[in-house]
Protein backbone atom coordinates (compact mmCIF):
# COMPACT_ATOMS: atom_id res chain seq x y z
CA UNK A 1 0.00 0.00 0.00
CA UNK A 2 2.73 2.49 0.95
CA UNK A 3 4.70 1.49 -2.16
CA UNK A 4 1.66 2.28 -4.26
CA UNK A 5 1.18 5.72 -2.67
CA UNK A 6 4.89 6.50 -2.93
CA UNK A 7 4.79 5.59 -6.62
CA UNK A 8 1.88 8.00 -7.12
CA UNK A 9 3.71 10.87 -5.39
CA UNK A 10 6.88 10.07 -7.31
CA UNK A 11 4.97 10.04 -10.60
CA UNK A 12 3.39 13.44 -9.91
CA UNK A 13 6.70 15.01 -8.95
CA UNK A 14 8.36 13.55 -12.05
CA UNK A 15 5.53 14.84 -14.25
CA UNK A 16 5.79 18.27 -12.63
CA UNK A 17 9.52 18.30 -13.33
CA UNK A 18 8.95 17.41 -16.99
CA UNK A 19 6.27 20.12 -17.21
CA UNK A 20 8.13 22.59 -15.02
CA UNK A 21 6.91 25.63 -16.96
CA UNK A 22 3.37 24.90 -15.65
CA UNK A 23 4.52 25.01 -12.03
CA UNK A 24 6.67 28.07 -12.70
CA UNK A 25 3.65 29.89 -14.18
CA UNK A 26 1.73 29.52 -10.92
CA UNK A 27 4.60 30.83 -8.82
CA UNK A 28 5.24 33.74 -11.20
CA UNK A 29 1.53 34.59 -11.19
CA UNK A 30 1.65 34.80 -7.39
CA UNK A 31 4.78 36.99 -7.43
CA UNK A 32 3.46 39.35 -10.11
CA UNK A 33 -0.04 39.81 -8.67
CA UNK A 34 1.38 40.68 -5.25
CA UNK A 35 4.02 42.99 -6.75
CA UNK A 36 1.40 44.99 -8.67
CA UNK A 37 -0.22 46.35 -5.52
CA UNK A 38 2.70 48.47 -4.19
CA UNK A 39 3.04 49.86 -7.72
CA UNK A 40 -0.65 50.71 -7.95
CA UNK A 41 -1.10 52.03 -4.41
CA UNK A 42 1.94 54.29 -4.31
CA UNK A 43 4.66 54.40 -1.67
CA UNK A 44 2.52 54.92 1.43
CA UNK A 45 4.28 52.76 4.08
CA UNK A 46 1.43 52.57 6.58
CA UNK A 47 -1.20 51.71 3.99
CA UNK A 48 1.02 49.04 2.40
CA UNK A 49 1.80 47.52 5.78
CA UNK A 50 -1.92 47.30 6.59
CA UNK A 51 -2.98 45.66 3.34
CA UNK A 52 0.02 43.32 2.98
CA UNK A 53 -1.39 40.22 4.73
CA UNK A 54 -4.69 40.42 2.84
CA UNK A 55 -3.04 40.95 -0.55
CA UNK A 56 -0.55 38.11 -0.11
CA UNK A 57 -3.29 35.77 1.04
CA UNK A 58 -5.71 36.65 -1.77
CA UNK A 59 -2.93 36.15 -4.33
CA UNK A 60 -2.13 32.76 -2.74
CA UNK A 61 -5.81 31.73 -3.04
CA UNK A 62 -5.91 32.70 -6.72
CA UNK A 63 -2.61 30.97 -7.47
CA UNK A 64 -3.81 27.79 -5.75
CA UNK A 65 -7.06 27.83 -7.65
CA UNK A 66 -5.37 28.38 -11.01
CA UNK A 67 -3.06 25.42 -10.50
CA UNK A 68 -5.91 23.11 -9.53
CA UNK A 69 -7.60 23.03 -12.93
CA UNK A 70 -4.95 20.63 -14.19
CA UNK A 71 -4.98 18.36 -11.14
CA UNK A 72 -7.20 15.66 -12.65
CA UNK A 73 -7.89 16.98 -16.16
CA UNK A 74 -5.04 15.40 -18.13
CA UNK A 75 -5.40 12.06 -16.31
CA UNK A 76 -9.10 12.11 -17.16
CA UNK A 77 -8.39 12.64 -20.87
CA UNK A 78 -5.69 9.99 -21.32
CA UNK A 79 -7.37 7.26 -19.25
CA UNK A 80 -4.89 7.20 -16.36
CA UNK A 81 -7.66 8.36 -14.02
CA UNK A 82 -9.59 5.14 -14.77
CA UNK A 83 -6.52 3.18 -13.71
CA UNK A 84 -6.37 5.16 -10.47
CA UNK A 85 -10.06 4.50 -9.83
CA UNK A 86 -9.33 0.78 -10.30
CA UNK A 87 -6.14 0.79 -8.23
CA UNK A 88 -5.45 -1.68 -5.43
CA UNK A 89 -5.53 1.06 -2.76
CA UNK A 90 -8.49 3.12 -1.51
CA UNK A 91 -9.10 6.07 -3.82
CA UNK A 92 -9.26 8.51 -0.91
CA UNK A 93 -5.66 7.63 -0.01
CA UNK A 94 -4.52 8.03 -3.61
CA UNK A 95 -6.25 11.41 -3.61
CA UNK A 96 -4.35 12.45 -0.47
CA UNK A 97 -1.07 11.38 -2.10
CA UNK A 98 -1.89 13.41 -5.20
CA UNK A 99 -2.94 16.46 -3.20
CA UNK A 100 0.28 16.22 -1.20
CA UNK A 101 2.41 16.10 -4.36
CA UNK A 102 0.41 18.99 -5.80
CA UNK A 103 0.95 21.03 -2.66
CA UNK A 104 4.71 20.38 -2.75
CA UNK A 105 4.78 21.71 -6.31
CA UNK A 106 2.45 24.69 -6.12
CA UNK A 107 1.79 25.42 -2.43
CA UNK A 108 5.17 25.11 -0.75
CA UNK A 109 6.90 27.60 -3.13
CA UNK A 110 4.33 30.23 -2.11
CA UNK A 111 5.16 29.66 1.57
CA UNK A 112 8.90 29.93 0.89
CA UNK A 113 8.62 33.05 -1.27
CA UNK A 114 6.20 34.96 0.96
CA UNK A 115 8.89 36.76 3.09
CA UNK A 116 10.37 38.15 -0.13
CA UNK A 117 7.01 39.70 -0.95
CA UNK A 118 6.53 40.92 2.61
CA UNK A 119 9.69 43.02 2.11
CA UNK A 120 7.99 44.90 -0.74
CA UNK A 121 5.23 45.95 1.64
CA UNK A 122 7.63 46.95 4.41
CA UNK A 123 6.20 44.36 6.78
CA UNK A 124 8.26 44.20 10.01
CA UNK A 125 10.59 41.22 9.95
CA UNK A 126 9.14 39.65 13.12
CA UNK A 127 5.92 39.03 11.16
CA UNK A 128 7.61 36.95 8.44
CA UNK A 129 7.46 33.82 10.56
CA UNK A 130 3.76 34.26 11.32
CA UNK A 131 3.03 34.88 7.63
CA UNK A 132 4.92 31.74 6.63
CA UNK A 133 3.30 29.66 9.36
CA UNK A 134 -0.18 30.82 8.37
CA UNK A 135 0.52 29.93 4.72
CA UNK A 136 2.08 26.61 5.74
CA UNK A 137 -1.12 25.64 7.56
CA UNK A 138 -3.49 27.29 5.10
CA UNK A 139 -2.25 26.29 1.64
CA UNK A 140 -2.68 22.49 2.12
CA UNK A 141 -6.28 23.17 3.14
CA UNK A 142 -6.69 25.30 0.00
CA UNK A 143 -5.32 22.48 -2.15
CA UNK A 144 -7.64 19.86 -0.64
CA UNK A 145 -10.74 22.06 -0.74
CA UNK A 146 -9.96 23.14 -4.28
CA UNK A 147 -9.46 19.54 -5.35
CA UNK A 148 -13.13 18.87 -4.53
CA UNK A 149 -14.05 21.59 -7.01
CA UNK A 150 -11.56 20.28 -9.57
CA UNK A 151 -13.07 16.78 -9.30
CA UNK A 152 -16.64 18.10 -9.54
CA UNK A 153 -15.97 20.19 -12.65
CA UNK A 154 -13.97 17.44 -14.37
CA UNK A 155 -14.88 17.06 -18.03
CA UNK A 156 -17.22 20.07 -18.07
CA UNK A 157 -16.95 22.72 -20.77
CA UNK A 158 -15.87 26.01 -19.21
CA UNK A 159 -14.98 24.14 -16.03
CA UNK A 160 -12.33 26.73 -15.12
CA UNK A 161 -14.77 29.55 -14.40
CA UNK A 162 -17.17 27.21 -12.62
CA UNK A 163 -14.29 25.96 -10.49
CA UNK A 164 -13.60 29.54 -9.37
CA UNK A 165 -17.26 30.09 -8.47
CA UNK A 166 -17.43 26.83 -6.54
CA UNK A 167 -14.15 27.04 -4.72
CA UNK A 168 -13.54 30.70 -3.89
CA UNK A 169 -16.45 30.96 -1.40
CA UNK A 170 -15.11 27.85 0.36
CA UNK A 171 -11.74 29.57 0.71
CA UNK A 172 -13.20 32.42 2.82
CA UNK A 173 -12.60 30.87 6.29
CA UNK A 174 -8.97 30.10 5.45
CA UNK A 175 -8.50 33.62 4.09
CA UNK A 176 -9.97 35.26 7.19
CA UNK A 177 -7.92 33.15 9.59
CA UNK A 178 -4.71 33.36 7.56
CA UNK A 179 -4.68 37.10 7.00
CA UNK A 180 -6.10 37.57 10.51
CA UNK A 181 -3.13 35.73 12.03
CA UNK A 182 -0.69 38.25 10.57
CA UNK A 183 -2.93 41.21 11.49
CA UNK A 184 -3.25 39.99 15.06
CA UNK A 185 0.52 39.55 15.37
CA UNK A 186 1.05 43.05 13.92
CA UNK A 187 -1.35 44.48 16.54
CA UNK A 188 0.63 42.72 19.26
CA UNK A 189 -2.23 40.37 20.17
CA UNK A 190 -0.40 37.16 19.33
CA UNK A 191 -1.31 34.90 16.40
CA UNK A 192 -1.72 31.63 18.33
CA UNK A 193 -5.51 31.61 18.27
CA UNK A 194 -5.68 32.15 14.51
CA UNK A 195 -2.95 29.62 13.80
CA UNK A 196 -4.61 26.99 16.00
CA UNK A 197 -7.90 27.51 14.20
CA UNK A 198 -6.10 27.24 10.85
CA UNK A 199 -4.57 23.98 12.07
CA UNK A 200 -8.00 22.72 13.10
CA UNK A 201 -9.37 23.68 9.70
CA UNK A 202 -6.53 21.72 8.04
CA UNK A 203 -7.26 18.63 10.15
CA UNK A 204 -10.96 18.85 9.32
CA UNK A 205 -10.29 19.28 5.59
CA UNK A 206 -7.78 16.42 5.50
CA UNK A 207 -10.36 14.19 7.16
CA UNK A 208 -13.35 14.91 4.97
CA UNK A 209 -12.14 16.32 1.63
CA UNK A 210 -10.56 13.06 0.34
CA UNK A 211 -13.91 11.27 0.56
CA UNK A 212 -15.67 14.08 -1.27
CA UNK A 213 -12.96 14.15 -3.94
CA UNK A 214 -13.06 10.36 -4.39
CA UNK A 215 -16.87 10.37 -4.72
CA UNK A 216 -16.75 13.22 -7.27
CA UNK A 217 -14.10 11.42 -9.33
CA UNK A 218 -16.24 8.28 -9.43
CA UNK A 219 -19.18 10.33 -10.70
CA UNK A 220 -16.95 11.96 -13.35
CA UNK A 221 -15.90 8.50 -14.61
CA UNK A 222 -19.51 7.35 -15.17
Amino acid sequence: MMTLLKAVVRRDLLLAWRRRTDAATVVLFFLIVVSLFPLGMGPEPNLLRTIAPGIIWVAALLACMLSLQQLFASDHVDGVLDQMLLAAAPLSLIVIARAFAHWLISGLPLVVLSPMLAVQFGLPSELYLVLMLSLLLGTPALTLTGAIGAALTLGLRGGGMLLALLVLPLYIPVLILGAGAVDAAAAGLGAEAHLLLLGAQLVLTTTFAPWAIAASLRIAAE
Binding site: M1, T3, L4, A7, V8, R11, L14, L15, R18, R19, S74, D78, G79, V80, D82, Q83, M84, L85, L86, A87, A88, A89, P90, L91, A221, E222
Partner: protein, 225 residues
Protein backbone atom coordinates in the same frame (compact mmCIF):
# COMPACT_ATOMS: atom_id res chain seq x y z
CA UNK B 1 -2.57 -30.84 -2.96
CA UNK B 2 -1.75 -27.59 -1.21
CA UNK B 3 -3.31 -26.92 2.15
CA UNK B 4 -5.58 -23.91 2.26
CA UNK B 5 -3.29 -21.82 4.44
CA UNK B 6 -0.31 -21.91 2.07
CA UNK B 7 -2.34 -20.73 -0.90
CA UNK B 8 -2.68 -17.05 -1.77
CA UNK B 9 -5.95 -15.60 -0.58
CA UNK B 10 -7.61 -15.32 -3.99
CA UNK B 11 -7.11 -19.03 -4.72
CA UNK B 12 -8.64 -20.43 -1.55
CA UNK B 13 -12.07 -20.35 -3.06
CA UNK B 14 -12.24 -20.30 -6.81
CA UNK B 15 -12.66 -16.69 -7.91
CA UNK B 16 -15.79 -16.01 -9.83
CA UNK B 17 -17.22 -13.03 -11.66
CA UNK B 18 -20.97 -12.89 -12.11
CA UNK B 19 -23.41 -10.42 -13.57
CA UNK B 20 -27.05 -10.68 -12.58
CA UNK B 21 -29.74 -9.21 -14.78
CA UNK B 22 -27.64 -6.23 -15.88
CA UNK B 23 -29.27 -3.35 -17.70
CA UNK B 24 -27.17 -0.51 -19.07
CA UNK B 25 -28.56 2.89 -20.02
CA UNK B 26 -26.42 5.66 -21.46
CA UNK B 27 -28.12 9.04 -21.48
CA UNK B 28 -31.73 8.32 -22.46
CA UNK B 29 -30.88 5.25 -24.48
CA UNK B 30 -31.27 1.77 -23.04
CA UNK B 31 -28.46 -0.27 -24.56
CA UNK B 32 -29.50 -3.68 -23.32
CA UNK B 33 -31.06 -5.37 -20.35
CA UNK B 34 -31.50 -8.73 -18.69
CA UNK B 35 -27.89 -9.79 -19.19
CA UNK B 36 -26.62 -12.64 -17.01
CA UNK B 37 -23.16 -14.07 -17.12
CA UNK B 38 -20.77 -16.06 -14.97
CA UNK B 39 -17.04 -16.53 -15.39
CA UNK B 40 -14.82 -18.98 -13.59
CA UNK B 41 -11.09 -19.65 -13.94
CA UNK B 42 -9.93 -20.51 -17.42
CA UNK B 43 -12.86 -18.81 -19.13
CA UNK B 44 -12.48 -16.41 -22.03
CA UNK B 45 -15.55 -14.28 -22.69
CA UNK B 46 -15.55 -12.65 -26.11
CA UNK B 47 -17.94 -9.72 -26.32
CA UNK B 48 -19.07 -8.88 -29.85
CA UNK B 49 -21.48 -6.31 -31.19
CA UNK B 50 -21.71 -3.44 -33.65
CA UNK B 51 -20.39 0.03 -32.86
CA UNK B 52 -22.44 1.66 -30.11
CA UNK B 53 -23.96 -1.62 -28.94
CA UNK B 54 -22.48 -1.10 -25.48
CA UNK B 55 -19.35 -3.26 -25.45
CA UNK B 56 -17.22 -0.66 -23.70
CA UNK B 57 -20.07 0.21 -21.32
CA UNK B 58 -20.44 -3.46 -20.42
CA UNK B 59 -16.71 -3.78 -19.75
CA UNK B 60 -16.69 -0.63 -17.63
CA UNK B 61 -19.70 -1.96 -15.72
CA UNK B 62 -17.91 -5.26 -15.07
CA UNK B 63 -14.96 -3.23 -13.77
CA UNK B 64 -17.24 -1.32 -11.43
CA UNK B 65 -16.56 2.03 -13.10
CA UNK B 66 -20.13 2.36 -14.33
CA UNK B 67 -23.20 1.70 -12.24
CA UNK B 68 -25.67 -0.48 -14.15
CA UNK B 69 -29.19 0.98 -14.26
CA UNK B 70 -30.44 -2.40 -12.99
CA UNK B 71 -28.85 -5.60 -11.71
CA UNK B 72 -25.46 -6.08 -10.11
CA UNK B 73 -21.96 -7.32 -10.80
CA UNK B 74 -20.57 -9.68 -8.17
CA UNK B 75 -17.08 -10.94 -7.38
CA UNK B 76 -17.19 -14.15 -5.31
CA UNK B 77 -20.82 -13.37 -4.51
CA UNK B 78 -20.30 -9.78 -3.32
CA UNK B 79 -21.30 -6.65 -5.21
CA UNK B 80 -18.18 -5.07 -6.71
CA UNK B 81 -19.33 -1.52 -5.86
CA UNK B 82 -19.27 -2.58 -2.21
CA UNK B 83 -16.01 -4.53 -2.41
CA UNK B 84 -14.16 -1.66 -4.16
CA UNK B 85 -10.39 -2.11 -3.84
CA UNK B 86 -10.95 -5.63 -2.48
CA UNK B 87 -12.13 -6.38 -6.01
CA UNK B 88 -9.86 -4.01 -7.93
CA UNK B 89 -6.69 -5.53 -6.53
CA UNK B 90 -7.60 -8.70 -8.46
CA UNK B 91 -8.26 -6.95 -11.75
CA UNK B 92 -6.40 -5.44 -14.69
CA UNK B 93 -8.40 -3.20 -17.01
CA UNK B 94 -7.07 -2.14 -20.39
CA UNK B 95 -9.36 0.54 -21.77
CA UNK B 96 -9.48 1.76 -25.35
CA UNK B 97 -7.60 4.90 -24.29
CA UNK B 98 -3.94 4.09 -23.72
CA UNK B 99 -3.33 5.13 -20.13
CA UNK B 100 0.10 6.63 -20.82
CA UNK B 101 1.53 9.96 -19.73
CA UNK B 102 3.23 11.61 -22.71
CA UNK B 103 5.96 13.16 -20.58
CA UNK B 104 7.04 9.89 -18.96
CA UNK B 105 9.23 7.28 -20.58
CA UNK B 106 7.95 3.85 -21.60
CA UNK B 107 9.66 2.25 -18.58
CA UNK B 108 8.32 4.88 -16.17
CA UNK B 109 4.79 4.52 -17.50
CA UNK B 110 4.92 0.75 -17.08
CA UNK B 111 6.28 1.13 -13.55
CA UNK B 112 3.38 3.41 -12.55
CA UNK B 113 0.78 1.05 -14.02
CA UNK B 114 2.24 -1.96 -12.18
CA UNK B 115 2.43 0.04 -8.95
CA UNK B 116 -1.26 0.96 -9.23
CA UNK B 117 -2.12 -2.75 -9.41
CA UNK B 118 0.14 -3.25 -6.39
CA UNK B 119 2.22 -5.68 -8.43
CA UNK B 120 5.85 -5.53 -7.36
CA UNK B 121 8.20 -5.87 -10.30
CA UNK B 122 11.91 -5.37 -10.72
CA UNK B 123 13.25 -3.06 -13.47
CA UNK B 124 14.68 -6.22 -15.08
CA UNK B 125 11.24 -7.91 -15.22
CA UNK B 126 9.69 -4.79 -16.71
CA UNK B 127 12.45 -4.52 -19.29
CA UNK B 128 11.99 -8.17 -20.25
CA UNK B 129 8.27 -7.71 -20.71
CA UNK B 130 8.83 -4.66 -22.94
CA UNK B 131 11.40 -6.55 -25.00
CA UNK B 132 8.92 -9.41 -25.51
CA UNK B 133 6.43 -6.89 -26.84
CA UNK B 134 9.01 -5.65 -29.34
CA UNK B 135 9.92 -2.46 -27.51
CA UNK B 136 13.60 -3.22 -26.89
CA UNK B 137 15.74 -0.09 -27.06
CA UNK B 138 12.67 2.12 -26.66
CA UNK B 139 12.38 1.90 -22.85
CA UNK B 140 13.75 5.39 -22.33
CA UNK B 141 11.77 7.14 -25.06
CA UNK B 142 8.95 9.36 -23.86
CA UNK B 143 5.50 8.01 -24.67
CA UNK B 144 4.89 11.12 -26.80
CA UNK B 145 7.32 9.88 -29.44
CA UNK B 146 5.71 6.43 -29.79
CA UNK B 147 3.45 5.32 -32.62
CA UNK B 148 -0.12 4.24 -31.85
CA UNK B 149 0.85 0.56 -32.07
CA UNK B 150 3.84 1.05 -29.77
CA UNK B 151 1.65 2.83 -27.23
CA UNK B 152 -0.70 -0.15 -27.27
CA UNK B 153 2.22 -2.55 -26.83
CA UNK B 154 3.43 -0.59 -23.79
CA UNK B 155 0.02 -0.91 -22.14
CA UNK B 156 -0.18 -4.62 -22.96
CA UNK B 157 3.33 -5.25 -21.58
CA UNK B 158 1.72 -4.69 -18.19
CA UNK B 159 -0.37 -7.84 -18.68
CA UNK B 160 2.55 -10.26 -18.72
CA UNK B 161 3.65 -8.72 -15.39
CA UNK B 162 0.17 -9.09 -13.88
CA UNK B 163 -0.43 -12.79 -14.54
CA UNK B 164 -1.01 -13.38 -10.82
CA UNK B 165 -4.15 -11.25 -10.84
CA UNK B 166 -7.12 -13.51 -11.63
CA UNK B 167 -9.13 -11.24 -13.96
CA UNK B 168 -8.25 -9.24 -17.07
CA UNK B 169 -10.78 -6.99 -18.74
CA UNK B 170 -9.51 -5.92 -22.16
CA UNK B 171 -11.19 -3.41 -24.45
CA UNK B 172 -10.01 -3.90 -28.06
CA UNK B 173 -6.54 -5.11 -27.03
CA UNK B 174 -5.54 -5.83 -30.63
CA UNK B 175 -6.37 -2.37 -31.98
CA UNK B 176 -3.39 -0.83 -33.86
CA UNK B 177 -1.16 -3.91 -33.31
CA UNK B 178 0.85 -5.48 -36.13
CA UNK B 179 0.84 -9.22 -36.76
CA UNK B 180 3.95 -9.95 -34.65
CA UNK B 181 2.45 -8.19 -31.64
CA UNK B 182 -0.90 -9.92 -32.18
CA UNK B 183 0.88 -13.30 -32.18
CA UNK B 184 2.64 -12.49 -28.92
CA UNK B 185 -0.55 -11.15 -27.35
CA UNK B 186 -2.40 -14.35 -28.35
CA UNK B 187 0.19 -16.47 -26.58
CA UNK B 188 0.20 -14.22 -23.48
CA UNK B 189 -3.59 -14.47 -23.15
CA UNK B 190 -3.55 -18.20 -23.99
CA UNK B 191 -0.94 -18.98 -21.31
CA UNK B 192 -2.79 -16.86 -18.77
CA UNK B 193 -6.08 -18.68 -19.44
CA UNK B 194 -4.39 -22.09 -19.28
CA UNK B 195 -3.03 -21.06 -15.87
CA UNK B 196 -6.51 -20.39 -14.57
CA UNK B 197 -6.98 -16.72 -15.47
CA UNK B 198 -10.27 -15.15 -16.53
CA UNK B 199 -10.48 -12.80 -19.49
CA UNK B 200 -13.27 -10.59 -20.76
CA UNK B 201 -12.40 -9.12 -24.12
CA UNK B 202 -13.94 -7.17 -26.98
CA UNK B 203 -12.47 -7.34 -30.43
CA UNK B 204 -13.50 -6.67 -34.01
CA UNK B 205 -10.85 -8.99 -35.42
CA UNK B 206 -11.15 -12.74 -35.80
CA UNK B 207 -8.24 -13.79 -33.64
CA UNK B 208 -8.25 -17.38 -32.37
CA UNK B 209 -7.18 -17.83 -28.77
CA UNK B 210 -6.87 -21.21 -27.13
CA UNK B 211 -8.98 -21.20 -23.98
CA UNK B 212 -10.14 -24.01 -21.65
CA UNK B 213 -13.64 -22.52 -21.80
CA UNK B 214 -14.70 -20.12 -24.52
CA UNK B 215 -17.92 -18.12 -24.36
CA UNK B 216 -19.21 -15.63 -26.85
CA UNK B 217 -21.67 -12.88 -26.20
CA UNK B 218 -23.25 -10.82 -28.95
CA UNK B 219 -24.78 -7.61 -27.66
CA UNK B 220 -26.72 -6.96 -30.88
CA UNK B 221 -29.01 -9.87 -30.03
CA UNK B 222 -29.75 -8.41 -26.61
CA UNK B 223 -30.59 -4.90 -27.70
CA UNK B 224 -34.37 -5.10 -27.68
CA UNK B 225 -34.98 -7.64 -25.00
Amino acid sequence: MLSASTQPLHLRTLPMLEAHNIEITRGDRRLFGGLNLALDPGTLLLVAGSNGSGKTSLLRTLCGLLMPSAGEVCWNGENVRRLREEYWQHLVYVGHANALKNELSVAENLEVLCALSNVHTSPEQRRKSLVQFGLSGRELLTAKSLSQGQRRRTILARLSLCVELPLWILDEPFAALDSAAIDHMQSVVGTYLAGGGMVVMTTHQEIPIVAPTLRELNLDGLAHR
